[in-house]
């Protein structure tokens, strides 16, 4: 963005004196802007994809599942009035589990099921892979667990050697809960 401003500033300076150099600067500025936008989009998208705001948690997870190198079915729905912070924590937790399934599980299929009542949202993430998911062996699952705890949520693992892996994410969403 700094180099973009610089190119534009120089172009403004040169526009009368040297139109050819100006054209060159503007073309550089354009490619800088385009690649800066692409970088920004990638970062923003992994943290908070717009489709999450558009379509809610289940829609966001459906969109995510389509992009994975593993067939994953998404079933069920989230409460309509899910607080944004809870939605985001639940999304990132599920995304981490799915990323793990792609990276570590050697599964051929996965699934996400969303269920909720007046008090809690429960998301079950499964894969038919080799099992052995272990929070002590990495940072991803532990980070997710810590994040969920701040919402009184939790993540429970059932991942015996030989599989399958079943991970249950539980987050309270009802009124009267701590923020």
């Amino acid at each position: 963005m700094v180099s973009l401003a610089l190119s534009l500033g120089m172009a403004q300076d040169l526009i009368r004196a040297d139109p050819d150099a100006t054209a060159q600067l503007l073309s550089e500025a354009r490619s800088t802007a385009v690649s800066a936008l692409a970088d920004l989009r990638t970062v923003m998208h992994s943290i908070h994809p717009a489709v999450l705001a558009d379509r809610g948690l289940a829609g966001g997870l459906r969109a995510l599942a389509l992009d994975l190198a593993l067939p994953v079915t998404v079933d069920g729905d989230a409460p309509a009035a899910l607080p944004a912070a809870v939605q985001s924590a639940a999304y990132l937790a599920t995304a981490e589990c799915l990323a793990n399934a792609v990276k570590h599980s050697r599964a051929t299929a996965g699934g996400v099921t969303l269920r909720h009542d007046g008090a809690v949202l429960r998301i079950v993430v499964t894969d038919n892979g080799i099992g052995g998911a272990d929070p002590a062996a990495g940072l991803g699952l532990r980070g997710v667990m810590r994040r969920l705890e701040t919402f009184d949520g939790r993540l429970d693992l059932d991942s015996p050697a030989g599989g399958p892996t079943v991970i249950t994410i539980t987050v309270p969403h009802g009124p009267g809960r701590l923020p």
Partner: protein, 215 residues
């Protein structure tokens, strides 16, 4: 050729005005330029433009109003050509746009507008009932493991990627620097390997390929 009538939906004043000027300079008639979803549906259905260029994100909700408006309008006017622009592209949205199988669909990243020549060509192609899919959506479609494309040669995959963007055999030949005949041969082989019905018509070929990739 009479001037193409276009409806434009973009809420950012600066970009809207820029696009209006761009289209006028390329001999389109901008019959309406709107900045919100409900107005867009009304204008699309009432004015029946040759093509619409629509930002996904529009007031009042600033979520996917533009996309929803387009889908609603195409329910009433089947095949109404629309090119949707977005800050990011989602396979989910591409699939929703393509679901009716009628063609006349474009879905591009907003920054593609900065390549004016290609952008205008994409708008014209969509107006013609063709397709203009962003290369990044196509890459995602090709990446999904559900449909193994291993049977295709590297060159055939390349041709397939271009075809899925909605490009004609002539345009593919030009960008891969091979003859249109050679593209035709690759296309025929791709269709055989994927078990698809061949077709002489560019648009229909593209739709067949997309239907296959969406699995």
């Amino acid at each position: 050729m009479s001037r193409m009538r276009i409806v434009l939906a973009e809420d950012l004043t600066l970009l809207r005005d820029g696009l209006i000027r761009l289209f006028q300079a390329h001999d389109f008639e901008v019959v309406a330029a709107v900045d919100n979803g409900p107005q867009l549906i009304r204008d699309l259905v009432a004015l029946r433009p040759d093509v619409a260029v629509v930002d996904v994100r529009l007031p009042p909700g600033y979520s996917d109003e533009g996309l929803r408006a387009v889908l609603a309008a195409r329910q009433q006017v089947p095949g109404l050509p629309v090119l949707v622009l977005s800050q990011y592209v989602e396979q989910l949205y591409a699939r929703e746009l393509l679901a009716d199988g009628l063609g006349g669909i474009g879905y591009l990243l907003k920054d593609r507008v900065s390549d004016v020549g290609q952008f205008i060509a994409a708008v014209r192609r969509v107006a013609d009932g063709g397709t203009a899919l962003d290369p990044s959506v196509v890459a995602k479609l090709l990446d999904s493991r559900r449909r193994p494309l291993d049977r295709l040669s590297p060159r055939e995959r390349e041709v397939l990627a271009h075809m899925a963007q909605g490009r004609s055999n002539a345009a593919i030949g030009a960008s891969l620097v091979i003859t249109e005949r050679a593209v035709g041969k690759h296309t025929a082989s791709i269709f055989t390997k994927l078990g698809l019905q061949p077709s002489e018509d560019d648009n229909r070929r593209v739709l067949a390929v997309l239907a296959y990739l969406e699995g």
